[in-house]
């Protein structure tokens, strides 16, 4: 199975990258852009074939390594 872990900074935590991207998009003429936040996405090939267990495993990886719980939150998506 494939797991997709998306890691974003928690709301309230300053996101300098998102801020700078928003700024650059405005300068490029995209006037309708509001807040921009940037995060990471990690695609994992998993040997696990059961979706529920795959999710559990990916969540554990996120908690242990992929996300920094002090400033980041994450979400997991499982693809067949």
């Amino acid at each position: 199975m494939k797991a997709i872990v998306t890691v974003m900074l928690k709301t309230g935590v300053l996101d300098p990258q998102g801020k700078a991207i928003g700024h650059a998009l405005h300068n490029l003429g995209f006037a309708g852009v509001g807040e921009v936040r940037m995060g990471k996405v990690i695609e994992l090939e998993l040997a696990e074939t059961d979706a529920a267990r795959a999710r559990q495993e990916a969540e554990e990886m996120a908690r242990k390594l992929l996300a920094n719980p002090v400033i980041e939150s994450f979400k997991v998506e499982i693809l067949a």
């Binding site: 990258q17 700078a20 991207i21 650059a24």
Partner: protein, 220 residues
């Protein structure tokens, strides 16, 4: 040779570059703010120094490549003008499509700040003629994203057309394809490289290994 140095927010090696240019050219380059839409009249050489333009947030050099001044730089290059991009300047030139390839995160995923050795792959260009063919010189490097990459066809073309300017001659620490440290445009008038010859132009600061680059340009 009239030089103009581009200043993008977040650039931080402009002082080093100005010092090196002043020493070889006898005068400092004109400073051009990224929001300008034209280069100073009579500009022969445009220099993009190192640093972290726009913090290098998103991708190194990506935001600077879209600055207003870059349209003028494109026109200048199109007219056969000279362009030198060092470190972040090199990254900006690839992002702007003025040089092929891209610079990825260093293979070891760490910033690398140390002296390296570069081999001069051709000594018959306006940038490199003060070196002997095949010369190896020292240059400090300081970057997190210097891992040069391009499609295999592009790399073969660069090699075939003699557009590789410098290669790492000691260790290929950042993992660059074919040890490439710098490349030329097809007309040999645009040069981008990762290490910093501008930081080695004074015996007091460790040597003058980088000076031939500026002396070559000054003589043009």
């Amino acid at each position: 040779m009239q030089a103009a140095l581009l200043l993008f927010p977040g650039i931080n090696r402009e002082r080093d570059m100005i010092q090196a240019v002043r020493q070889s050219f006898g005068r400092a380059p004109a400073i051009v703010w990224h929001k300008e839409t034209e280069l100073p009249a009579g500009t022969d050489l445009v220099i993009l120094p190192g640093g972290f333009s726009f913090g290098d947030y998103l991708r190194c050099g990506a935001m600077a490549a879209h600055s207003p001044v870059m349209r003028a730089v494109r026109e200048h290059a199109g007219r056969g003008g000279y362009v030198l991009g060092v470190c972040n300047g090199f990254q900006i030139l690839t992002e702007a499509g003025l040089l092929p390839g891209a610079l990825l995160r260093n293979a070891g995923l760490r910033f690398l700040s140390m002296e390296t050795r570069l081999s001069v792959e051709r000594a018959d260009t306006v940038f490199t003629r003060n070196w002997a063919p095949g010369a190896v010189f020292r240059a400090p490097m300081a970057h997190g994203d210097g891992n040069y990459t391009a499609r295999t066809e592009t790399l073969d073309r660069l090699e075939g057309e003699g557009l590789v300017a410098f290669r790492y001659a000691d260790e290929n620490r950042n993992g660059s394809a074919r040890r490439i440290a710098g490349v030329f445009s097809p007309n040999l008038r645009v040069l981008g490289l990762m290490p910093h010859p501008e930081d080695l132009v004074d015996p007091l600061l460790g040597g003058t290994d980088g000076k031939p680059l500026f002396d070559s340009l000054a003589a043009a």
